[in-house]
Structure formats: structure tokens, C-alpha cells
């Protein structure tokens, strides 16, 4: 049964719109709210499949309702009922996250079809989330050129996968993202492009200028970074390989030593070690394996209340 929440300050309009659904949809339950605030508060109790809202209402209006729903990350689609003169607000609401709109003057003709379309699309999204929620392990392999602009979208993709699998909370995902960013940047800059972090200590501009030049110079330009991300219910394991000559792992300055804390070169490793549970390099120094253990949310070891300043391990 489809549950629809109708939001309108006019009881006459609420009843009329409700009657359209009663006649036009096969199996429907309808609830009503007279403004955006009452509608938003009601979502705490019952989550409808769809919200149909007027725009202009006293208290919280339709735009405010759409913004609150979007800000709260609630996935319920919202259809706007617009009337002559509020096209601009309707446009703002569509930009804020509303799924569609129907002019009030043609509700009888177009509302049901619009609702059916939106519900069908929303159902596909819900089912996709359900099936992805049942995913227990996945392995992804990436081959990257020496372009650091690949890094943010790659991390975002992995964070989305981990979030869908409900492996980590929001704060953990941010920390994992930070560690991945550092490791991938290291692989491109220090691994494949053989940039010395001491150069960065002297001049950031020169450091990045050399990085840009080497991206197109052999042998650097022919090297790639390979990443394998293995996500399971037990752990998230990331292996990042570069094709540079490697480095003497034993000779790396200890980033936790306060003498090295203010050196940019040690910062990446410090973050990686702080945010991951296990970190290993291969003997050559051109491969790093990082593991983050999955701790069931709410368990004694769940660190969901920790702040970014705190370490994971």
C-alpha cells in the first residue's frame, strides 16, 4: 500500500487532493498535515512513500519543508503543488530537492500520473538500496594515472560503498577517506613521480610545478597506481601499489616523533597510522596495505562518539 502525506493549509484543498488519490490509485493510505512543520514532525512517527505539498502556507512553507527533508537526508520524494505566482519559489524548491511539481489548476489531469512516475522511480532506488544493503563483500580494482584529481571521486565512491554496506559510521568514513587520500597522494607523488617531500618543505609551488612536469615525462608518465579495495563485513582492506623505485621503509622518519610532527612529509603517514588499524609496507616500499576493522555499531569498541582529534587505534 502506498502511503501519501498531503500538506496544505486549506482543508478544502487537502480533501480534494486526497479524493484524487482515493480514486486514482489502487491501494493508498493518506495522511494530512496543515503546514510544513507539522508534516516534518510527523515523519518521526510514520515515513510516507511520498509527500505532496502546497508551497505557500503559514508557518513552515513548502520550500522550508523540502529544505528540512533534504538537510536531514530523508529519502522521501516530495511533489509540489504550484499555483500562479509562485513559480520562483517552486524553482527554488526543485533546486532544493523536490522531485517534481504539478500546477494546482491541472491537478485532476496530471497529479496521479506524476505520483505514479515518482513512486516507480523511488521504488527502484529503494530496492537498489535494499539489495546493496545485503551485499556482504565486494572487491574493486582501479588503475590510476598520476593525476591527483582522480583521488576525491575515487574516495567518494568507496565511502558510498562502505556506507551502503553499513560498515562504518560517518566519522569513521571521513577518517578512512583521509587515510586513503594520503596514501594515494604518496603513491602518485613520492612513488611514481619520485618527488622528495623535503622539496615541499622548501617551497610548495616548486614541489607542485615539478609534479606537473613529471606527469608528462618518461619514465614517470608511464607509471600507474594500482589500488585494490576489498570490503567485507569484517574489514576494509586497501592495497595501493605504485611503480616507482620504492623507499627504505626503515629509514622513514617516525611521524609520531614531535620533531617530525610539523614536517609535511611525515603528516601523511601519521594520519594513515592514526586512522587505520593495520598499516604495512612491502620490503621495496612501493606497496602499502591498510586495514580498517569493522566494529559493529553500538558495541563496546564502537568509536562513533570519538572526534576527529582522537585516534582510532
Amino acid at each position: 500500500m502506498t502511503h501519501i502525506l498531503i500538506v496544505d493549509d486549506s482543508p478544502t484543498e487537502r480533501r480534494r487532493v486526497g479524493s484524487l488519490f482515493e480514486k486514482g490509485l489502487k491501494s493508498v493510505s493518506i495522511s494530512y498535515a496543515e503546514n510544513g512543520k507539522i508534516a516534518f514532525d510527523s515523519l518521526q512517527l510514520v515515513m510516507p512513500d511520498l509527500i505532496v505539498t502546497d508551497l505557500q502556507m503559514p508557518g513552515m512553507d513548502g520550500l522550508g519543508l523540502v529544505e528540512k527533508i533534504t538537510d536531514a537526508g530523508i529519502g522521501v520524494p516530495v511533489i509540489l503543488m504550484t499555483s500562479f505566482g509562485n513559480e520562483e519559489i517552486a524553482l527554488q524548491a526543485l533546486n532544493a530537492g523536490a522531485a517534481s511539481y504539478v500546477p494546482k489548476a491541472v491537478l485532476g489531469k496530471h497529479l496521479i500520473k506524476t505520483v505514479e512516475n515518482v513512486i516507480a522511480l523511488s521504488q527502484v532506488k529503494k530496492n537498489r538500496q535494499r539489495i546493496l544493503g545485503a551485499l556482504t563483500s565486494v572487491q574493486s580494482r582501479f588503475v590510476l594515472e598520476n593525476d591527483i584529481t582522480y583521488i576525491p571521486p575515487l574516495i567518494s565512491y568507496l565511502q558510498e560503498q562502505m556506507a551502503t554496506m553499513r560498515l562504518f559510521n560517518e566519522s569513521q568514513l571521513i577518517r578512512i577517506g583521509m587515510a586513503l587520500c594520503e596514501a594515494l597522494t604518496n603513491a602518485i607523488h613520492h612513488g611514481n613521480l619520485e618527488l622528495d617531500s623535503e622539496w615541499r618543505q622548501d617551497s610548495e609551488a616548486t614541489y607542485y610545478q615539478i609534479a606537473e612536469e613529471r606527469r608528462y615525462l618518461k619514465p614517470y608518465s608511464e607509471r600507474r597506481v594500482r589500488m585494490v579495495a576489498s570490503l567485507s563485513e569484517q574489514e576494509a582492506r586497501f592495497v595501493i601499489d605504485d611503480e616507482g623505485p620504492g623507499f627504505a621503509v626503515d629509514e622513514v622518519l617516525d611521524p609520531t616523533d614531535e620533531i617530525n610532527m610539523d614536517r609535511m612529509g611525515g603528516r601523511g603517514l601519521l594520519l594513515i597510522q592514526s586512522f587505520m588499524d593495520q598499516v604495512q609496507h612491502n620490503a621495496v616500499g612501493n606497496s602499502i596495505t591498510m586495514i580498517k576493522n569493522v566494529v559493529p555499531l553500538g558495541s563496546p569498541n564502537d568509536d562513533s562518539s570519538e572526534t576527529l582529534e582522537g585516534g582510532d587505534s
Binding site: D9, T12, E13, R15, R16, S19, K23, Q56, S83, A105
Partner: protein, 113 residues
């Protein structure tokens, strides 16, 4: 005098369902009374914008009965701003509620409410 509302048009909007139209009329008559009070209250506080919002709601509600006289008067009232003169506001108010009262009467007669 022309009809204050178009019964055929109103029935078309509810796919010929007269009992639903009657139900809407009952709800509307209750609503229009409340909106009149809200509008008067707003005018008493010199809050033209609140009064304009009440007129907007009335405009939406009366549209169900295909009544251009009420709809147009509500629309005209909705356009009022604090810069309008007291006389303009009074005239718009009288135009709106004279039309609204005619529609109320017609609905009561049509549906024996």
C-alpha cells in the same frame, strides 16, 4: 445576475462526483468563515501580508467551485501590500467578502447545506 459559480465546471473537476463536491462545499463553508476571521484579525493588526496569505488560501479553496468572482477578488486582495491605502484595502476586502458571501449562499442552496 450571473451565476456566482459554475456547477458544471466544478463537477468536471471532481469527475462528476456530486457527493464529493457536496463534501468539499461543507468543508469550504467552514474554512471560508475561519479565513474571514483570520483576515479580519490580520487587518486589525495592520498586518497586510498575513491578510494577503489568508486571501491566497481562500483563492485556492474557492477554485474548486469555479467561481471567477471570488477567485479574482481573492487574487486582487492577495496583491495588496502595506503601501496600499486604507481605502484600497477596504474596497478589496468588501469586494472579496461580498463575492464570498454570494458563493456561500449559492453552495448552501445547491447542496441543501
Amino acid at each position: 445576475m450571473t451565476n456566482i459559480f459554475d456547477l458544471e465546471g466544478a463537477l468536471q473537476r471532481v469527475e462528476g462526483d456530486r457527493s464529493l463536491l457536496c463534501e468539499l462545499a461543507v468543508i469550504y463553508l467552514d474554512e471560508v468563515g475561519k479565513l474571514k476571521l483570520a483576515l479580519c484579525d490580520a487587518l486589525g493588526k495592520n498586518d497586510i501580508l498575513a491578510a494577503s496569505k489568508a486571501a491566497h488560501t481562500l483563492k485556492g479553496a474557492c477554485a474548486n467551485f469555479c467561481s471567477p468572482a471570488v477567485y479574482d477578488a481573492a487574487w486582487a486582495f492577495e496583491q495588496l501590500r502595506p503601501s496600499n491605502t486604507a481605502q484600497e484595502i477596504t474596497e478589496a476586502y468588501e469586494r472579496l467578502f461580498q463575492a464570498a458571501e454570494r458563493l456561500n449562499q449559492a453552495l448552501r442552496e445547491e447542496f441543501a447545506i
